[in-house]
């Protein structure tokens, strides 16, 4: 196939997708509405969280700091021993554990005391709120009790992702979800074409199945990139979600995501005959992927389903997208996700090329 034919087939198929307005609009609307709903209406950031304070100093000064955490509407305060509370933090029962170390009062008298705050960084929904609450309490304590701005400082521990808001977490997830919906839809398109006899018609031309699939992938990639740009632009303009990493790595991740979801769509189209059954199977595949793949919420799967979750391609697409968008990740952070997506692409396309039928 020459370049002219390639471009023509890509343009034709992108045009067909574009004119199926409901198809591409519904997936992007789902993302946009989700961002609006979770970005504005449900503000997870104001819900109460569990905070533990461990007082190892047991002096008047340390007790007055502990009291400063008490009585906050947004904090369920607990006091306990270090080991127990750290274990609770590990289990996700605490959002943060603040340790007031031994010698706190003496240090404070010298003018520079410090606290250690351990945060649960697996909870990106609330981590920003938790850290800022702790710091606000300490700042207040500094001015009110110590009378000196930097009397007590907070040392953060186990905080890899600093100040990730829920909308920051959600936006890459919505990008991943949209890529999934649109590209799984190739299964629907292919079966429609088979039902309408269009595939048979193409089968009596010199067009090879491989050429059809390659041009189809290119046109879906075009459509998906456009959608990604729309979602990220909305995230930037409305919610101030910034892409902290490289746009090149973002594009590579999107392309791999497109190919992965297309290959699954092709396999579905090869296995089933009717438009309705393909539709049903796509939904059956897509909805568990959205939730197990952490498009909306972080998930700490029980060991029994953990292998399933880590086999789901959307998990790795979302991981890679978040790595680029939220953490500014580079190749060393991305290659695992990329490799797993690439494995899906190779397996999926290999299988669908074997199963491909013109009729």
């Amino acid at each position: 196939m020459n370049v002219g034919a390639f471009i023509r087939l890509v343009v034709t198929q992108a045009t067909i997708i574009r004119r199926n307005t409901g198809f591409w609009l519904s997936s992007i609307l789902m993302a946009v509405i989700s961002m609006a709903v979770f970005g504005w209406l449900f503000d997870f950031d104001t819900q109460a969280f569990d905070l533990a304070v461990v007082d190892e100093d047991r002096t008047e000064a340390s007790q007055s700091l502990v009291r400063a955490f008490d009585g906050l509407e947004s904090v369920e305060l607990r006091e306990g021993e270090r080991d127990e509370e750290m274990e609770s933090l590990d289990h996700g029962d605490r959002s943060a554990v603040v340790i007031v170390p031994e010698g706190f009062e003496d240090e404070l008298a010298d003018g520079s005391a410090s606290l250690v705050a351990y945060y649960d960084n697996s909870d990106p929904i609330r981590i920003g709120y938790v850290t800022s609450t702790v710091e606000a309490v300490v700042d207040d304590f500094n001015t009110r009790v110590a009378g000196q701005r930097n009397a007590v400082s907070v040392e953060r521990q186990a905080v890899a992702t600093s100040n990730v808001r829920y909308i920051d977490f959600l936006t890459p997830g919505m990008v991943g979800m949209t890529i999934m919906w649109v590209n799984l839809g190739v299964g629907f398109l292919l079966v429609t074409w088979r039902e309408q006899g269009i595939l048979r018609r193409l089968g009596v031309t010199p067009l090879r199945p491989g050429s059809l699939i390659v041009t189809q992938a290119a046109s879906y990639a075009l459509v998906s990139l456009t959608q990604v740009v729309i979602i990220l632009t909305m995230g930037r303009l409305v919610f101030d979600v910034t892409v902290s990493g490289s746009y090149l790595w973002l594009a590579v991740t999107v392309a791999l995501g497109v190919m992965t979801m297309l290959s699954i769509g092709y396999v579905i189209a090869s296995l089933l005959e009717t438009v309705t059954s393909v539709n049903a199977l796509i939904n059956l595949v897509a909805f568990p992927m959205i939730f197990l793949g952490r498009s909306y919420f972080p998930l700490d799967p029980p060991p029994a389903v953990a292998p399933l979750v880590s086999a789901i391609p959307l998990t790795h697409l979302n991981d890679a997208l978040r790595e680029v968008v939220n953490n500014g990740g580079g190749l060393s952070d991305l290659w695992v996700s990329w490799a797993i997506l690439a494995a899906w692409v190779v397996g999926g396309f290999g299988l669908s090329m074997r199963l491909f039928r013109w009729q």
Partner: protein
């Protein structure tokens, strides 16, 4: 080329019946004027033999018809030639190439219209033609296609907004984007109204006039008579007869058919005994008398009913057609 369906086509030289060459095992050297050679072609679906070892040849520039009822194996035959299905046995030589092994090389030089129109409803006329053009090495210009199929004014219309006739014209246009040497049309006029069917016949005559070889399947005998220089009559996966329509009809041992119904039962033997009657078949309550002499048979028929109580309820006299050829070969009509 102006076209009148009534004009009988010039009688063609009938191809000598060559024995199926595949059986001898020798390679067949295609003669220069043979565009398509089919040898012992077979396709089975489970226990059903859809195409049962058929052989035929089509010459360059010929309009060749495959006539038969639904399920006769016409479409399966075409699909094997076009490269959509793999034959279970036999050989297809199309444009001097093995059509199974050199499938894409062959597909680059043929034009195909399938039974379903198979167009993208979301594309415009122009986009549809551009897309199909892109698939072939040789290409007819877009303007030529639009003009020839009177679609110039509709070039920016979406396919879903076209009328049935316009869609049909576009569908044929997509089959001709590569200026094919051989055109395959699978039941092209099924579902068209009589007027659209006539104008479609014009299109086929035009193709033929350009020297293209046209291979068309149909279950309309009048279509085969109007279009085809030669016709293969197919039933249950086999070719029952093959010749020009005129020769096929002439080959019947009768010239006319008298179709009549009676009030009350009439024994077949009494009808067979009528003058000039060669054969009698019963069809949907009507008797078909195949006769070499209409007036003698009719006179006898009147005499038959005078003496007895039987009354003729309806009576119809027809010149023998391809339909009668089919009935005499299979005992059934083309369309039930």
């Amino acid at each position: 080329m102006p076209f009148a369906a009534e004009t009988p086509r010039p009688a063609t030289q009938v191809a000598p019946r060559t024995p199926p060459a595949g059986e001898t095992g020798e390679p067949v050297l295609p003669r220069a004027d043979v565009v398509l050679a089919i040898e012992a072609l077979t396709k089975r679906y489970g226990s059903l033999v859809a195409v049962d070892g058929i052989s035929f040849e089509v010459r360059r520039g010929e309009t060749f018809g495959i006539l038969g009822p639904n399920g006769a194996g016409k479409t399966t035959t075409l699909e094997m030639i076009e490269g959509l299905r793999k034959p279970d046995a036999g050989r297809i030589t199309l444009l001097s190439l093995d059509a199974v092994r050199r499938r894409r090389a062959v597909q680059d030089r043929i034009g195909v219209q399938l039974q379903s129109q198979a167009l993208w409803p979301e594309l415009t006329v122009e986009e549809t033609l551009k897309t199909f053009r892109a698939l072939f090495k040789k290409r007819v210009s877009l303007e030529t296609l639009l003009e020839r199929f009177t679609l110039t004014e509709k070039r920016r219309s979406l396919v879903r907004d076209l009328s049935g006739g316009q869609k049909q014209r576009l569908s044929v246009a997509t089959a001709l984007v590569n200026d094919p040497e051989v055109v395959f049309l699978d039941e092209p006029t099924t579902g068209l109204d009589p007027q659209a069917r006539r104008s479609f016949w014009d299109l086929i005559h035009d193709m033929s006039g350009e020297g293209k070889t046209v291979i068309v399947t149909t279950h309309y005998m009048e279509e085969a008579e109007a279009l085809c220089e030669r016709v293969a009559i197919m039933d249950r996966g086999r070719i029952m007869a093959m010749d020009s329509p005129r020769e096929l009809v002439r080959g019947l041992d009768f010239d006319n058919t008298v179709e009549c119904t009676f009030a009350g039962a009439v024994e077949r033997e009494r009808l067979l005994a009528l003058p000039a009657v060669r054969d009698v078949k019963k069809e949907n309550g009507a008797h078909l008398l195949f006769t070499t002499d209409v007036s003698a048979t009719l006179a006898g028929l009147m005499g038959l009913t005078d003496g007895s109580g039987e009354r003729v309820q309806s009576l119809q006299v027809r010149t023998a057609t391809l339909e009668d050829v089919f009935i005499s070969l299979t005992g059934r009509r083309l369309r039930d």
